[in-house]
């Protein structure tokens, strides 16, 4: 039982000394970060710097080798009793993941289900929402991302931008308290990027806590509350978008921005 006043103080995500290795390759080398509720954090950095890996550690799709991550005050992947960490069971991990939405670069919609079924599936299966209620909510979400008329269409018949908007609706259907976006527009034709960014902008406006890995610097500047620049598995620089993007302090940030802009 915590008091509301304390809850507003609690960061939505807190990472402390996070290390991640793949075999002998150390991909994350001590990440310390905090994301506040309703904050939109833009994560930028060169390819291979560990951005995707960090996102995947937050919902425990990857297990970290050292350090700790909390989401909404709960330790990711473990239960702490005193100084002992107990690994969580699959079912508990799944319950925690259900509270974190994730949107992928390649959409990963379920191709054997219609747009509506894609959005309904997890609430029915994971949250035991009654079918007709789930359908009704799914329709409202599709409407929210501007795809009400595509409810009964299969992913293969949708454009990339439409698929990504369905994927966002699918994540929102679980009523997440945090949304992770991993380069959501990188696989899209340039003319389709705008429609996805518009949905994300609206989501940010509605107060969703978001971590967005992106190469869309214009979008990062407009929508981000904070920009974090990662390179070589560490956070090199962070701050308000206008500072980091316009007046980077570090040489590595500067050369990265020079390359990308």
């Amino acid at each position: 039982m915590s008091m509301p006043a304390l809850q507003t103080m609690r960061p939505m995500v807190r990472a402390e000394g996070v290390h991640k290795r793949f075999g002998r390759l150390e991909v994350l080398r001590g990440i310390d970060l905090e994301v506040q509720p309703r904050e939109v954090m833009m994560l930028i950095g060169p390819s291979g710097s560990g951005k995707s890996t960090f996102l995947r550690c937050i919902n425990h799709l990857e297990q970290i080798n050292a350090g700790r991550i909390w989401v909404d005050g709960e330790l990711v992947g473990y239960r702490q009793v005193g100084t002992t960490l107990y690994e969580l069971h699959e079912r508990e991990l799944a319950q925690r993941r259900a509270e974190i939405g994730m949107v992928f670069q390649r959409f990963n919609l379920f191709p054997h289900m219609t747009a509506l079924q894609n959005v309904m599936e997890a609430p029915i299966l994971v949250k035991r929402v009654p079918r007709n209620e789930a359908a009704e909510r799914a329709r409202r979400l599709l409407e929210r991302v501007g795809l009400a008329e595509k409810a009964d269409v299969y992913p293969a018949q949708l454009s990339g931008g439409q698929q990504q908007r369905v994927a966002i609706a699918r994540a929102l259907a679980m009523e997440p308290k945090l949304m992770l976006f991993d380069e959501p527009t990188s696989a899209l034709d340039p003319e389709l990027v705008g429609e996805v960014l518009a949905v994300m902008r609206q989501l940010a406006h509605d107060g969703m806590t978001m971590i967005v890995v992106t190469h869309e610097m214009q979008f990062a500047r407009e929508v981000g509350d904070r920009v974090v620049f990662m390179d070589g598995g560490v956070v090199v620089e962070q701050g308000p978008p206008e500072e980091v993007l316009a007046n980077p302090k570090h040489e590595r940030t500067r050369s990265f921005l020079a390359r990308i802009l």
Binding site: L61, E90, A94, M102, R106, A122, L125, K127, A171
Partner: protein, 303 residues
């Protein structure tokens, strides 16, 4: 040497003459005629006897039994195949090892040996089939093994368990063909691995699994003839029961073969429609007629 062609001239196209093919056709025709003549003069096959037994009630019963045991063994095989494929891919190493052993053993021994093992071997070793608590004297249910291990039971066990080992590899291939991102998306939504498998992975794996199931079924229609050794009254057994009393050996083998050919042909045509539905995008599936597909399938059958 350059050839001048008047604009607007019309051409006669002469296809390559395939003389070799014509000669070969003549040779084949001669051989067939010679065989037919030899058969007729030696009374090798009496067509009247074939006709007489083609619709014999015992033969038709055998036909029904062949169809039944093939379908039932396939169902058992598919269920086992899915279970063992999922087990083999499980992160639980005990389950994976059990599954690996099952596949290794049942694919590595002849199905004929397995059939005889179930029918003759098991009742010889275990006198009773009992359900109870192991290492205690508590027994809920018991019956003599010979009463349980009927020819049908032994056939279903032998054919079904063997098929399950082959199906497990087919299903595993299908599961591996599903994009990893699908599993990731399902997990990110909070699904546990069993839910992911059932709702997301297996339905997509079906696309890859279903066409080879057709091949397996066509094979099974023929493999089921091995059940004759455990005295199960399928087509071949019924034919041999008849010829062992009337000695029309060849005629009855012809009768059985005609029915097998009909079964496999019908199944191949059915498979054509199933493949057409599932093997989308492959050029071959769209060009062929059902008849060509049936021929192709009959040619490539194994076992």
């Amino acid at each position: 040497m350059a050839v001048d062609v008047e604009p607007g001239a019309t051409f006669t196209v002469v296809p390559v003459r395939r003389y070799g093919q014509i000669v070969l056709a003549l040779v084949v025709a001669l051989l067939v005629a010679w065989l037919a003549a030899a058969g007729a003069s030696s009374h090798f096959v009496n067509p009247a006897v074939v006709g007489q037994y083609l619709l014999n009630p015992l033969i038709l019963g055998g036909l029904a039994n062949t169809i039944f045991v093939s379908i039932a063994a396939m169902v058992i095989g598919i269920v086992l195949g899915v279970v063992f494929a999922v087990m083999k891919m499980s992160s639980n190493t005990v389950l994976a090892a059990v599954s690996g052993f099952y596949i290794w053993f049942f694919r590595g021994t002849p199905v004929l040996v397995q059939l005889i093992f179930w029918f003759n071997g098991v009742p010889a070793v275990f006198h009773d089939l009992s359900l109870g608590i192991p290492f205690t004297h508590v027994i809920f249910f018991s019956m003599p093994m010979v009463a349980f291990m009927t020819p049908l039971a032994a056939s279903l066990l032998g054919l079904g368990l063997n098929e399950g080992a082959y199906m497990a590899e087919i299903v595993r291939g299908g599961i591996l063909a599903v994009d990893e991102g699908q599993v990731e998306a399902a997990q990110a939504l909070g699904m546990v691995s069993a839910q992911t498998m059932r709702r997301i992975v297996l339905p997509q794996a079906m696309r890859v699994i279903i066409p080879p199931i057709g091949n397996e079924f066509i094979s099974m229609l023929k493999t089921s003839s091995l059940a004759s050794v455990v005295t199960f009254g399928e087509l071949l057994r019924r034919a041999s029961d008849i010829y062992s009393s009337n000695l029309f050996v060849v005629e009855l083998l012809v009768v059985a073969s005609l029915w097998y050919l009909l079964l496999t042909t019908v199944a191949s045509i059915g498979q054509y429609y199933v493949e057409k539905r599932f093997a989308r995008g492959t050029a071959r599936a769209e060009r062929e007629t059902p008849w060509q597909a049936a021929l192709r399938n009959l040619m490539k059958l194994r076992r």
